[in-house]
């Protein structure tokens, strides 16, 4: 951060706000040193932190299969993917730090349940097909959510998202490719794939958030340019994209109301169970406690390692170790 210049009087807030609004109106980026309204900064920190937490907690459901992956190629691919997610978390925590947040503090907030992460990661991964379905549907939904964020009004976040989206599309492809391979395998494998699709479809649709009429912050976030489409728009886009992919794969989605509407050119789909959504977001999902406990243990059980690194750096100031 640069020191404020003392000669000139600070321009008053109204002028700053005017400049901020003009930047947004011109579709230019806000950068870390620019003035920004407190509400914008706070909302962004929450958004970016929640996204970072989701990347890190999101390592766990698939990570649970790393040791048991059924071929060395699959094990390598999965390890590379889970490792990517750690990298995504790192870029995003860095973006949050440009807004004045601190990574360790954000991790504390996650572990103490003061900040949320995507509720999709509170479901268990019951078979290896879940690895494929997470790649195809969950990473796919994440891409739909995230591609518009490559145009976020906040520069560091937008740049992190461009990098992340490229990697997410790899993730989606490897998931789909695994499912394709499994569908060409045994009857048992095909049944595993359909079962996984049945379990993940509705939770995936909930990844886009509550319906627009119950999404109170959407309007402000869109005005600030940190959200580019409404939840329902993105959800529809995802459904339209996924149905043909399911057909190619040879699986069905567990929704009797799913049907193409020639008038709108979109697929109609059934009602989502928002009560379940609230339960899972509120910490009552099947895996919430386990996910957070593991994250907490990684922090607490290894605190001595970080302390040692800090102590060593202090002793050997200037040394590159």
């Amino acid at each position: 951060m640069s020191a404020p210049t003392l000669e000139r009087p600070a321009p008053d807030e109204a002028a700053l706000l005017e400049q901020f609004d003009a930047t947004l109106a011109a579709d230019h980026r806000i950068e870390p040193r620019d003035w920004m309204p407190e509400g914008y900064r706070k909302t962004l920190i929450r958004q970016v932190a929640q996204h970072a937490h989701s990347e890190i907690i999101g390592m766990q459901p698939e990570g649970d299969w790393l040791l048991a992956a059924p071929s060395l190629r699959r094990k390598s691919v999965l390890l590379a993917k889970v490792q990517d997610e750690a990298g995504h978390g790192m870029y995003l925590y860095s973006a949050a730090e440009t807004l004045g947040a601190d990574r360790a503090d954000l991790t504390d907030k996650l572990v103490e349940q003061k900040q949320k992460y995507s509720s999709i990661f509170n479901y268990p991964t019951l078979s290896y097909a879940d690895v494929g379905v997470i790649g195809w549907l969950v990473d796919g939904a994440a891409i739909c959510n995230q591609v518009p964020l490559c145009r976020s009004s906040y520069g560091p976040y937008a740049r992190a998202m461009i990098r992340i989206c490229k990697e997410e599309s790899f993730h989606q492809r490897q998931g789909y490719e695994l499912l394709m391979t499994m569908m060409r395998g045994t009857d048992e494998q095909r049944a595993m794939v359909q079962d996984a699709v049945d379990r993940w479809w509705w939770p995936t649709l909930m990844m886009f958030g509550p319906p627009d009429e119950h999404s109170p912050n959407t309007a402000q976030s869109m005005a600030w340019g940190i959200k580019r489409h409404t939840n329902d728009e993105l959800r529809q886009k995802f459904v339209d994209m996924s149905v043909p992919q399911a057909e190619v794969l040879g699986v069905t989605f567990p929704d009797p109301e799913l049907e193409f509407d020639p008038e709108t050119g979109h697929y109609r789909f059934g009602k989502l169970d928002w009560e379940e959504f609230k339960r899972v977001v509120g910490g009552q999902g099947p895996m919430n406690a386990i996910r957070l406990a593991r994250r907490r243990a990684a922090r607490d059980d290894n605190a001595w390692v970080t302390e040692a690194a800090t102590a060593y750096a202090r002793k050997h100031e200037g040394a590159v170790a």
Binding site: I56, M59, Q60, G63, L67, A68, A69, P70, S71, L72, R73, R74, S76, V77, L79, A80, V82, Q83, A86, G87, G89, Y93, Y128, I143, V147, C150, R151, I162, K166, S169, F170, Q172, R173, Y176, E177, M180, T181, G185, T186, E188, Q189, K237, M241, P244, Q245, V248, R294, A298, N302, W304, V305, T306, E307, A308, A309, A311, Y312, A313, H316, A321
Partner: protein
């Protein structure tokens, strides 16, 4: 990146063709490589030797992977992921090389034809057919012990691979040349942590010293050649492990001293154990997890 084209690319990406996610890096390890065995080399010996080196890499990769989602820092998740991926890559090449010279044992009968050799060997051999050593098989313990074990394992392996670059088997030589770069990074990474932990806080010093005490005895069976290694070393194919002992001891002593750790006495040599198929229960346990799913669906393709 234009939004609409990204969506479109996704929808069209699924023509079931080779738009493979991570490039071709993870496909068949020896694809396109001439696997002919040069004159004067016994294929059975060569295959057995590849199993020794391949099993060490596979087992250590599995151990390191146990840290994923449990590591002290996100940077360390990424680093351990990198090291694990390197070792998996080495394991795949070496197991594929063993398969290419026909060393498959019972595994080939248990695995379906469509399962590649590397997986037949990794997933369908029992513990007594593994040729890994106790150094890589031992449980992780805490982060200090994990890094001390990685330091020792990478130091030994780097010393061997550096010499194997001149192996008379060109496939082995190529695998070693690639591995040397990777193992240099693994060794450095572990050494940096040993320095930080040894010379960090009182607690980390104590844990590092405990790690040394746990890891040093695991060096006992590493430096006596099996008959296979002796024959192959004489033929210019393999490395006699006795020839790397001093180098390994020097490197480890240097790192420990710089880390303000005391260097224990070098363990009395026991002769080969793991290389002959003698393992403790921890390998069986590790293999149960690694192999369980693949064995549950022997007719499946993944």
């Amino acid at each position: 990146m234009h939004e609409e084209t990204v969506y479109e690319a996704l929808s069209n990406a699924h023509d079931d063709e080779g738009h493979w996610a991570f490039g071709t890096g993870f496909d068949e390890p020896l694809a396109g490589v001439d696997t002919t065995v040069p004159d004067g080399i016994d294929p059975a010996d060569l295959g057995a030797y590849c199993l020794m080196l391949g099993d060490d890499a596979l087992v250590l990769a599995q151990r390191l992977t146990q840290w994923i989602t449990n590591a002290p820092e996100l940077e360390e998740e990424v680093a351990i992921g990198n090291i694990g991926l390197d070792l998996l890559g080495q394991a795949r090449l070496l197991l594929a090389r063993a398969g290419s010279v026909g060393v498959l044992g019972r595994s080939r009968d248990l695995a379906t034809d469509s399962i590649p050799d590397e997986d037949a060997l990794a997933y369908f051999r029992d513990a007594d057919e593994f040729r890994s050593t106790a150094l890589v098989e031992a449980p992780n313990g805490d982060f200090a012990r994990t890094m001390l074990r990685l330091l020792a394992a990478a130091t030994v392996r780097l010393a061997v691979f550096a010499r194997l670059r001149d192996s008379r088997d060109p496939v082995l030589a190529a695998i070693a040349a690639k591995g040397v770069k990777e193992l240099t990074y693994h060794r450095d990474h572990a050494a940096r942590w040993v320095l930080r932990l040894g010379d960090g806080t009182e607690e980390s010093h104590r844990r590092a010293q405990d790690g040394v005490a746990a890891v040093w005895p695991l060096l006992a069976d590493l430096f006596t050649a099996t008959d296979v290694e002796t024959r192959l070393a004489a033929a210019g194919v393999a490395v006699d492990p006795a020839g790397v002992r001093d180098e390994v001891r020097d490197v480890l002593t240097q790192v420990l001293q710089r880390a303000t750790l005391s260097v224990p006495e070098w363990p009395a040599e026991t002769g080969p154990r793991g290389r002959l198929g003698e393992h403790g229960p921890e390998l069986t346990e590790l293999l149960d997890t690694l192999q369980g799913l693949a064995r549950q669906h022997p007719a499946a393709t993944w």
